[in-house]
Symmetry: C2
Subunit: 215 residues, 2 copies
């Protein structure tokens, strides 16, 4: 059994944050497929693992961790990669992890879910427009931060980047305006160029067009 | 000048998280009023302080901190109150801070804004129903966690509680169903009973029915 076991599925950008970290750091890890689209995160078995009913969940020896930000923080400490250099960077990383959860991922992930995975007859145009406006406001903040910086903290990638990047390689699924956000687009290219980078659909199992085990 | 200066306004539950911590810990602090409803968080002056354009912002000597979770973490370290006892509690606190930002506060704060502060002609019933459903799902998770526990981590209050409680004393403004959430209601009473507790409208300036300086 691998040292790290990540409960995940291909379409989850929150799980991708952890999967990408594990892969970039060269950790000994394996994915454990969670059949989200058939209700697996609402099962009693899964809720025993994570009462919040969400992926990702990371099993590492006797630890069971949930929330992507907690997992990223744990992995940065254990693997010695993408963590803060001191207290000021630690605070700055936490600031972006929290902001990502509150303002960026919260809106983008829900927007993408509604426009991609929800049956058309259940889609609500008002809600979709609302989420798109809120995602747009968050994108402005991120674009401003990345203008003149290679990564969120400056010169080097950190778990703040790995958190915020979660849904960006699914960009066409939520109609990300790449031309309107040149700094974000260049940042996506920089992270894509890191040794070991993989697309979420190549890193986690469950994509309908990829055989299980390949993912 | 006080040691801690908190940029805030009475209606902000996110600012309340920090204000309540400062007050409960008996810190030497003062509020700095941010005129949110007249656009102050979008001013160039405020964006220079916090490019995310949000309260709270805490000034502490030469530090300028934003994101309520970063501020709570900083205050727990400096004031020696409501912080974790060890690594496991540290992870558990971070987990709830992130979850609060992503699933609880994100939905409750927006729901309350839309049903309270937005002009009636701009309110969108579909969006309000969407936010109420998502807030309801988060409330279920919190109710489950607090069933059989006095506080989120167990016996003692922590910054996880001070984060999650942010919008609960404005409960009537977002029609919180107290009867349907007995564990949350008892937890609200327990936090209200902590020495030094104050209602957000008594702790931060800018409530229309309270004179500035009293707030």
């Amino acid at each position: 059994m691998a040292e790290y076991r990540l409960h995940c599925f291909a379409q989850s950008g929150n799980a991708y944050k952890a999967a990408l970290m594990l892969e970039l750091a060269g950790a000994d890890w394996e994915p454990v497929f969670v059949d989200f689209f058939n209700g697996a995160t609402r099962s009693a078995e899964f809720l025993a693992l994570n009462p919040m009913g969400e992926v990702p969940v990371l099993e590492h020896r006797k630890l069971v961790l949930s929330q992507s930000g907690v997992i990223l923080d744990h992995l940065a400490r254990r693997l010695g990669r993408f963590g803060p250099a001191g207290p000021a960077e630690r605070r700055e990383i936490l600031r972006w992890l929290l902001w990502d959860n509150h303002k960026l991922t919260a809106n983008i992930a829900t927007l993408r879910f509604m426009t991609n995975f929800m049956p058309e007859e259940r889609r609500q145009p008002e809600v979709i427009a609302f989420l798109r406006a809120r995602a747009g406001a968050a994108l402005k903040v991120l674009e401003r931060q990345l203008t003149g910086r290679d990564f969120i903290l400056g010169d080097a990638p950190s778990i703040a980047d790995l958190s915020c990047i979660g849904y960006f390689y699914y960009a066409e699924e939520w109609e990300f305006d790449a031309a309107g956000h040149p700094a974000i687009s260049a940042w996506m290219d920089r992270i894509r160029a890191l040794p070991g980078w993989k697309h979420p659909y190549d890193l986690m199992p469950g994509h309908p067009l990829k055989a299980p085990g390949q993912g």
